[in-house]
Symmetry: C2
């Protein structure tokens, strides 16, 4: 089993969805990722929090065996994001982004973290993603996420980062934006030309498209009748994806990338069933495996 | 093997897509359906054309063994539709709809057609769909399509029609509109409460969601790097769907509905690779089966 390092945001989110409203619940890409991946493999988190960060939120990670030595405490307030979703849950409207202590964050890997073999660079400034890569010594697999903001404002740094990673996980809309195409397969091909060997295009309720070694693999998401809050679905996907690969130490195997994508979409299907990290916090391997089996029937063409 | 009856439009289409422009190419739901379904089972077409309908277009159906006795010739011009697509190929903009001879069309089934066991009511006025049902004697399986226009203008006739069919095939957007929900699974559940035993929600490049006997089944479409013209994809889907069920005479079997949906999405993936009916006209069983095998690998989680 491999160890997973994640560098990303630790945040409080205020969220409005058609299902309701919550104030300052725990969020941030690194939290979603860690709570998801730690179901399968040991996780180390690097990030920054402020004075207002509650100890129970660190404890939640510790309870799942996550190594929190890399969580830096800084004077000031924790990153706060306020977002709202309409009936189209695929699109979040950012109402407020208060970077707070995150504004001056530079990732510093504690000793022991630099030898992690599975590295996930969550959706942060590509310059910070590069700073992480400069500190790791023997990565087997480097996976990154990014978003429209960095595509618009730091395309050169982003391009440099893409040359140094193995797999990019990216939303469909952002994949098309990055490659200036309107077709997902064409976007995946172009991303692979930019550096990564493989790319997973995340499609929300429509699942994912994995492109690797000139081949496509695609599946829909687990069909849900009710989605409460889509926040963190992408980071949860990444957690399941990396969790699978680290658990079985299977970086670089195409069949494993398929299964890792299935783990990703399944984990995300739990996250969206409640606000924030609630669903992930109580999730057990038993529940995961039940849904996994059900999913296989849902997408099975072996009639 | 069962016989398939289709009632729908026979048309000329003028189309603009990002890939180009064509004028007055053969189109219409019944043509797309018949060219798709006839790859698998015998098809009978009922529809109306005008003086301008070219004999080669009837011959194209005849060459595929389609029974064209039900194509009525009326003085006037054939139905003409003009549509345009932007980069989002999921949405057509209707520029012109000239009903012409279709305006006064009432379906009349020739003798021999009334005993067809597999009936597809393409997307026409629900009143005309009911007129077809009044003329058939021993249907095994009645499948229908509909669209936003009928949902908005003839909801009562549409509701009455839904009580008389076994399966509804419908676009995702229209399924949500019909049921006033924003979730595909919830929409499918509500449609089943309205009458049909099963529903297939068509999702374009994202494939389909089949809902039957309280269960979901979903797959993405065959991934294509280039889509030339999405016109007729839904009717082609219906053709593959009905073609499979009639070929193996498997109405009412859940496993068969799954496979029929796969046939539908695969057939549609050919249609969109060229303008109008071009791709379907030259398609062979060998090409279909090759893509079918490739598709099974693309969606296979048996790693």
């Amino acid at each position: 089993m491999g160890k997973i390092l994640v560098v990303g945001s630790l945040a409080y989110d205020s969220l409005t969805t058609p299902a309701g409203k919550v104030q300052r619940v725990l969020g941030g890409s690194a939290n979603y990722f860690a709570m998801s991946a730690s179901l399968f493999a040991p996780v180390q988190v690097v990030g920054v929090v402020g004075d207002d960060y509650q100890s129970e939120h660190k404890q939640m990670l510790v309870n799942r065996g996550v190594d929190v030595k890399g969580i830096e405490h800084v004077r000031g307030k924790t990153f706060h994001w306020e977002g709202a979703y309409g009936n189209d849950l695929n699109e979040a409207k950012s109402l407020k982004t208060e970077l707070n202590v995150f504004e001056y964050f530079h990732p510093k890997l504690p000793s022991g973290f630099d030898s992690s073999e599975y590295v996930f660079l969550a959706n942060i400034d590509p310059i910070l993603q590069a700073e992480v890569l400069a500190q790791i010594s023997k990565p087997k697999l480097i996976v990154a996420d990014t978003m429209n903001f960095w595509i618009q404002t730091k395309i050169l740094d982003l391009s440099a980062m893409l040359k140094r990673i193995h797999i990019l996980l990216i939303n469909e809309g952002e994949a098309k934006q990055l490659t200036q195409t309107s077709n997902a397969v064409a976007a995946a091909e172009k991303i692979v030309e930019m550096g990564p060997k493989s790319v997973v295009i995340k499609r929300g309720e429509y699942g994912f498209l994995l492109y690797s070694m000139g081949k496509c693999f695609a599946l829909p998401a687990y069909p849900l009748k009710t989605v409460i809050d889509p926040t963190g679905a992408g980071d949860t996907f990444a957690g399941g994806f990396m969790g699978y690969l680290a658990k079985f130490d299977l970086a670089g195997n195409l069949g494993a990338l398929k299964m890792a994508s299935v783990y990703g979409t399944l984990m995300a299907s739990f996250t969206v069933q409640d606000f924030g990290l609630r669903a992930l916090e109580s999730l057990t391997m038993n529940q995961f495996e039940r849904r996994h089996l059900e999913f296989r029937e849902i997408v099975s063409v072996n009639v």
